[in-house]
């Protein structure tokens, strides 16, 4: 079971009681309660693993690194209060948060306060496009992820030329992330010659997808491009099987990437593809070892969210080593000059195509094969070949 109140209390008290010796303190704004708590827990695990590693390797030029994590209750108003306390406390930089509705106001505020922000979880394009000189994102965004999906579809098309992939049906939640990923997907579909034969949005909280799935069944799409919230992928997949909606490729973003997806959907999860920023079997040096450590810390199967938490702190620590932690300007310059390789990805912030300080990270496509998430694309990083095409439900 999870950490009880007592543990949380103890953690807070130990934070308050820490002696004021020479140390470098980084402020973290993370969603530990409220709607995004599922992600907040995962990010915290990743941050802690990175923190231990950094301090075991001499901290920030000999000074220990400390993290002060403040909960934002999954709402902007609390995140801004936390940001104000960090800004006035003189932390060299802030890491935060998950939802774009929180990270957006946070980025605006910290830019005006001239405090560097390393984005923790928010992937919406709008955070770094147009962005600001003070906001840095090492993880992916909607454009990168949508590109990855369509590169994957192209790759499959070339892999088996006898399996035509021409039509796409899109189903997405009406939140910021699903909407922007769908918008980007529609753009890419027309650019690369796919025909969009279904385009349906739903409100968060909808639990019956049969009307939409039945509509799609009539359109008989080759590819299903689904962007769900964390929880709905389970219901969507079960109902897809129930109404007998077949497709040659089934991609479900967000929920299919969670380790619990396989366990909850069972065999029906097979062949489903999903984009992530990191996976345990990706061919990066140290990825396997990081996986073991994340797993030990999480006490369960880690996902790419933990890795992103780890990445954010690694990036921050690297910049702090090269800067004067007392000067936010120098920290910002150091962040802008980042050029590191981590087990999660390489980081090198770029400002192109309207983006600012966005790391051009490579998104990975995972496919669920034999009840496990397997990296299948891009080919040079993949652990296995994709299983293609997805068999019809009746043939499984």
């Amino acid at each position: 079971m999870r950490i009880a109140i007592a543990a949380a209390l103890a953690a807070t008290l130990s934070m308050i009681g820490a002696p004021a010796q020479a140390q470098v303190e980084v402020g973290v704004i993370n969603s530990l309660s409220g709607n995004f708590a599922a992600f907040g827990e995962r990010y915290r695990t990743g941050l802690q693993v990175a923190l231990e590693e950094i301090n075991a390797n001499g901290g920030i030029n000999g000074q220990p690194l400390t993290l002060t994590i403040q909960d934002d209750r999954s709402e902007a108003k609390s995140a801004l209060a936390a940001a104000e306390s960090f800004a006035s406390k003189g932390v060299p930089l802030v890491i935060g948060s998950y939802a774009s509705s929180i990270t957006g106001p946070l980025a605006q505020y910290l830019t005006r306060q001239k405090v560097p922000l390393v984005v923790l979880g928010s992937a919406d394009d709008s955070i770094t496009k147009p962005g600001s000189p003070w906001v840095f994102r090492a993880k992916h965004n909607s454009t990168i992820v949508a590109d990855a999906y369509f590169d994957y579809f192209d790759y499959l098309k070339n892999m088996k030329k006898d399996v035509p992939l021409e039509t796409v049906a899109m189903l997405y939640g009406n939140g910021a992330w699903p909407t922007s990923l769908a918008k980007e997907g529609k753009r890419l579909a027309s650019e690369r010659g796919y025909k969009v034969v279904g385009d349906q949005a739903y409100d968060q909280g909808v639990t019956d997808f049969r009307p939409i799935l039945n509509r799609f069944r009539g359109a008989n799409p080759d590819i299903l491009y689904i962007v769900s919230y964390a929880e709905d992928g389970v219901a969507i997949t079960r109902q897809m099987l129930e109404v007998g909606l077949n497709a040659k490729v089934i991609a479900i973003d967000t929920s299919a990437a969670l380790p619990s997806f396989v366990e909850q959907v069972g065999d029906s999860a097979e062949h489903v593809a999903t984009a992530v920023s990191w996976s345990k079997d990706v061919k990066y040096p140290g990825a396997q070892e990081l996986y073991e450590r994340l797993k030990a810390k999480a006490g369960g199967e880690p996902s790419f969210y933990e890795a992103e938490g780890y990445l954010a702190l690694k990036v921050a620590a690297d910049a702090l080593r090269r800067a004067d932690p007392k000067s936010r300007d120098s920290v910002r310059e150091a962040l802008a000059a980042t050029d590191i390789t981590t087990p999660v990805t390489t980081v090198n912030f770029k400002s192109t195509d309207g983006f600012q300080n966005q790391n051009p990270i490579r998104s990975l496509i995972l496919q669920i094969q034999d009840s496990d998430h397997i990296t299948v694309f891009p080919a040079d990083l993949a652990a296995q070949q994709p299983r293609h095409p997805t068999p019809e439900w009746s043939a499984r």
């Binding site: 999870r2 950490i3 708590a37 949005a201 039945n214 964390a230 929880e231 909850q264």
Partner: protein, 294 residues
């Protein structure tokens, strides 16, 4: 598939989804009818039911329907306890106090679940999760069918309880006129406890029967169910248990047909518009008796 076949399929789905909505709604209707309290924690009790099924499944490997045996009585007693220690103390205060109390309870339930189970969505994987039954060319989801049967049984049992037993008579008396009921010797405090217990039991039952199909999250899912329960309740008629089933089915059909033939992103709105229309033209509900407005 021809247009008519698809239409029939959609209607069938709407009716079945409506059965689920009805199941979520009956408990709220009952509680509102008797206690005049808008229970904001209703959806959280549904979620609690889901997590109880998850827990029994993880610990004992039970099928959700088997765990009903334990979950329902536990739900009933939880409801009685909540009523005794919290709601009974505010029943004579301004009506909004009870509403606030249920809001507090809702926060407490959601966040206690968050602290024990974590925020990750949970579900129970059963072999019949996606099974269908084909009746005259129309595919019917096994899980929804089972939930529908459970709804019918439950409403039958509730109907019998209300109309054929002494307790039921007392409940109806309390709903009609609490003071009058007290004058004829009914212990309305006890009745309130029983009613709230039944309300929670029904919510828990709804949660358990839904878990094979859906998923539970600690803090997001509850509000969705509460809202659905409100809509069902008003559509059928606040306080009218039998009509909740009709309200639920109406909501299900309106939503499914709306989402099938119009813009699916407005799915929730179709139900809400129906809800508003009913409120405006027949505030006593579609099937309620014409009584004076509360």
């Amino acid at each position: 598939m021809a247009g008519l076949d698809i239409f029939l399929q959609n209607v069938a789905n709407g009716v079945l989804i409506g059965g689920v909505y009805a199941l979520i709604g009956i408990g709220l209707t009952l509680v509102f009818g008797v206690m005049r309290t808008i229970n904001f924690a209703h959806g959280d009790f549904v979620v609690l039911g889901m997590y109880s099924a998850v827990l029994f499944n993880a610990l004992l490997g039970w099928d959700p329907y088997l765990s009903l045996l334990l979950a329902m009585p536990i739900g009933f007693f939880a409801g009685v306890i909540v009523e005794r220690f919290i709601l009974s103390r505010v029943i004579d205060a301004p009506p909004e106090s009870a509403l606030l109390a249920t809001l507090g309870i809702s926060l407490i339930i959601g966040n206690t679940i968050l602290l024990t189970f974590g925020g990750e969505p949970r579900s129970v994987q059963v072999s019949y999760a996606s099974s269908t039954l084909s009746i005259a060319g129309v595919n019917v989801s096994m899980v929804l069918l089972l939930a529908g049967i459970a709804t019918v049984i439950m409403i039958g049992a509730l109907y019998t309880l209300l109309n054929r037993t002494e307790v039921g008579r007392a409940i109806r008396g309390t709903a009609e006129n609490r003071l009058g009921a007290e004058l004829v010797g009914i212990d309305t405090r006890r009745i309130h406890s029983i009613v709230f217990g039944l309300g929670v039991m029904l919510a828990v039952m709804a949660g358990v029967t839904l878990i094979p199909l859906l998923f539970a999250t600690p803090t997001n899912t509850g509000a969705v169910f509460t809202l659905k329960a409100f809509v069902v309740t008003v559509l059928g008629g606040l306080g009218n248990v039998g009509a909740a089933i009709a309200g639920g089915i109406l909501l299900g059909v309106v939503e499914v047909l709306g989402a099938s033939y119009f813009m699916s992103e407005y799915r929730e709105a179709y139900g809400l518009i129906a809800f508003l229309l009913i409120l405006l033209f027949r505030p006593e509900g579609l099937f309620g008796r014409t009584v004076k407005r509360v």
